[in-house]
Symmetry: C2
Subunit: 523 residues, 2 copies
């Protein structure tokens, strides 16, 4: 397996020589119909509004072949150490199904390990939901509260919000899920003050078992339980842990049960591991979570296809590289036309920016080309009444990733002026794609739209568990492929360390550091 | 009053010639102590970690004088038509106090008009909160639901979340506030399914009275009330309107009462008008809302000061111009170390990107320099476990705007390892500012931090109503000053029109537009 920098690739040099297609000239019904790839879980990736022609596609295929992108993915799922900086395997795909060979590490079959955890989570969530396991004062659990930060928060929270409506309309019994993440004590208080502690189960999530924010918030929860004055309440019967086998939390007697992950599941890739499985299986039931895993696994299998035009994640990755490295666009907007995906852009912010916001390659050498873009986004149509002004008429071009669904989740709608809300939602989505691509000329420059704003669209019939699983995996695999293209390690996060070290110094009384001392006087 | 493009300014040419200060060399305790300006409401703006020296400050003062920035602000508050594209005054400052001369328009004193609305809102909210006005079946109102989108949603929602904890700890009785914005029918359903309709008051907010999303969501609410089967419930007794006097909603008999705004309050500047006043006075009581207005007014008065170093909003604006137009940074991150400000960045996204995401000047000529940046952000410490990796070690530099408070809102905390959560939160904030500025050299390039990431900090003792008012006005005034610098109209939003027109066409059955037809087949 050879690794090389993007700017040493001959295909990339060809790509740089190709000017972008003028969307105003090329966008046509035939093009829209032709330009799509299946992404799994009922999800399809459309790229007709991307500024590329057949010759771009040919060169992108050459680039993929030259850099062995699917070969590297195959190596990753086969158990090669792809997180070289931390000397770790990268096994999140295995938490939702086997994509490559069986992988053995630390003396155990990793597929069997993840499967065993999943089965344990199934049994536990079934027992809690059926009332076979009750709170310490005899009440049935009706609320679960996840205590975690970063990957232990953003992904599971986004996924919970994404499927709540679907479960309601599918008449699946819901346990309410809430989340405490920030070390800001107001975050925990805002959640705690409205809880019925007797019917609440807390899920403490920290792979290392040492995350400052999470352990502090655990203590705030224990304090709240102690101060509640509820007779006979036993905090240990209201908390489970999700952690690694070797962490200090694993051996704790202060929890009801523990569920394990390992070092081969990065935080931002952990939603399909026990980190997401416990809270989502409790909230929605295990079958819903399993369907979500199946959607993710289907997307993972599709991502093995070396043919770029048939591999949605690979294609999305390569088109993104064209936008970032040839057309030099520094940001990307994620625009889901689905209120249920309101926190999905925040998850993608972590997934993408923490994975590929790097300036050194796998060998520790500085890179001379831009890597991961800034990711941001809010649901449509809300965004249309907010930052779309800049997207349409600002001085910079921002590539757009739309997400849409034909049907709503609750299936409760109203006809106003001849159309349902869902039809209005999708008419807006379609109209925006066209407006961004084609623009509009006008005698009044203030009403002129330059057009040629590139966009893609991921769409499915409905945001159900399978489609959501495929959506999550699509982006994980896209980010992975881009990391391969940029020749960087998408699986470490050294950039978060310095702040931690300095924060500890400030708390230590600013010893020997006058700058910190001065700053601490500000607050 | 003369308007001219930034690139014709002699001070700007001087600014372009000034290289950025190296933060690694200049950051010192003395500098931190020296570089700040009072921003009102107890809020202070710190800019010691901005890459500017005394000579930059001198030239920024020249630039401000040359472009008459405070003179233009004075003209705006004195009632000059600054929204030239739409031929409208810009009077949001007047909703919180008088900054300039008395302004008469449409045959009325506008200050008196806004004041009269405010007094009406005080009476109404007092009556609802005391139980003098009840729901149609005799229940006391305990929940208010704002139905609005864009400026009728983002600002009021962010402000509600920002003060909920403060009110709780101040023992102010809270009415629960919820928000329906998106035309996605799932947004309304998710709110409606958990409401006790008998004790819910809906606030319908649309200046024009024609906003598609808002009228559609009103009908979804009416449908839910009709289907509820609650005997004797009268929907008209459960809804008030916030609209302009001339809108179709104003004359509606299907509402309990109406509160007015006018064309001189832009949506994204409307949080201090009736758009924010009704929902926030109902939720928190009028006194809390009034304190919030007072904080905003104090910031407005401070923004008149022509001395750049004493005018926090003006200074923040000019430093932003240096970062955008000289150092060419295309994005800005908003990083509040306060969970209560979780949706404040989304409000600033609209405020900034919709105001200054323009490519033509006030005379309709194309601009040859970049204008408004992309704005994004999430609360710290959450962001530290997410996208900060890219901010620290990515290939692009992203300027940072931190916001912090010495004290929490709930004042419920716990000591873990010798410090409270609030102390940990602020230690992290301070540490991040230092880490971004100074970086760290390391033999291992993967653990190297280049530093020289510029940041500023807005901080106060506590996020209380006055500080929040000042914070909101600070950013409104910053954006206004930047619009003056870029010589564009910050108060229109022509970029949102094209999508609306095209969406209407799609709903009309794609008549005569094959591209739209093809797209609609996708969904």
């Amino acid at each position: 397996m050879t690794f090389k920098n993007l700017d040493t690739s001959s295909a990339f040099k060809q790509l740089q020589a190709l000017p972008a297609s003028d969307l105003k000239l090329v966008l046509s019904p035939d093009r829209i119909k032709a330009c799509h790839a299946y992404a799994g879980g009922g999800l399809t990736y459309h790229y007709g509004a991307m500024p590329v022609a057949q010759e771009h596609m040919k060169v992108l295929q050459q680039l993929s072949d030259e850099l062995s992108l699917t070969g590297k993915y195959q190596a990753l799922v086969d158990g090669k150490v792809m997180n070289t900086g931390e000397n770790r395997l990268v096994l999140h795909h295995l938490t939702r199904g086997q994509v490559g060979k069986s992988v053995t590490a630390d003396g155990e079959d990793k597929g069997a390990f993840y499967q065993a955890q999943l089965e344990k989570i199934k049994r536990f969530s079934d027992q809690v939901r059926s009332g076979a396991i009750l709170g310490s004062t005899g009440k049935k659990f009706s609320t679960v509260v996840q205590i975690g930060i970063g990957g232990s928060d953003l992904g599971p929270r986004a996924l919970y919000l994404a499927l709540k409506g679907w479960c309601t309309s599918s008449e699946i019994e819901l346990l309410d899920a809430q989340f405490i993440s920030n070390v800001d004590p107001d975050d925990a208080q805002a959640v705690l003050q409205n809880l019925d502690l007797e019917s609440t189960l807390f899920i403490l999530v920290s792979k290392s078992g040492t995350t400052l924010e999470t352990l502090t918030n655990r203590d705030l929860v224990f304090q709240a339980i102690a101060e509640s004055g509820i007779r006979g309440i036993d905090p240990a019967k209201h908390m489970v842990a999700v952690t690694s086998k070797t962490s200090p939390l694993a051996a704790s007697s202060s929890v009801l049960d523990s569920f394990f992950i390992d070092d081969y599941i990065g935080g931002r890739y952990s939603s399909t591991s026990a980190v997401g499985a416990v809270v989502l299986s409790l909230a929605f039931g295990f079958e819903t979570f399993k369907a979500f895993l199946n959607g993710a696994h289907e997307a993972d299998m599709l991502a093995l296809n070396p043919k770029v035009e048939e591999n949605a994640a690979l294609l999305d990755a390569l088109l993104g590289v064209y936008l970032r490295n040839v057309l030099q666009y520094p940001t990307t907007a994620i625009l889901p036309y689905s209120q249920a995906l309101s926190r999905f852009p925040a998850h993608l912010q972590q997934l993408d920016m923490e994975s590929n916001g790097k300036h050194v390659n796998r060998d520790g050498q500085n890179l001379s080309y831009p890597t991961g873009p800034v990711i941001f986004g809010e649901p449509g149509t809300n965004g249309q009444h907010s930052f779309y002004q800049l997207l349409h008429q600002g001085t910079d071009i921002v590539p757009l990733q739309f997400i849409g669904f034909s049907e709503s989740q609750y299936q409760k709608d109203v006809v106003v002026e001849g159309s349902t809300s869902q039809e209005k939602l999708n008419a807006n989505l379609v109209a925006q794609i066209v407006a961004f691509a084609l623009g509009k000329s006008d005698g009044n420059a203030n009403k002129q739209f330059a057009g040629n704003r590139p966009s893609s669209l991921l769409c499915a019939r409905q945001l159900d568990p399978k489609a959501l699983g495929a959506l999550l995996a699509h982006y994980e695999n896209k980010v992975m492929f881009q990391g391969f293209v940029w020749n960087l390690n998408s699986f470490d996060q050294e950039g978060v360390q310095l702040g931690k070290v300095l924060a500890a110094k400030v708390l230590d009384g600013c010893k020997g550091d006058e700058v910190l001392k001065a700053f601490s006087e500000l607050l």
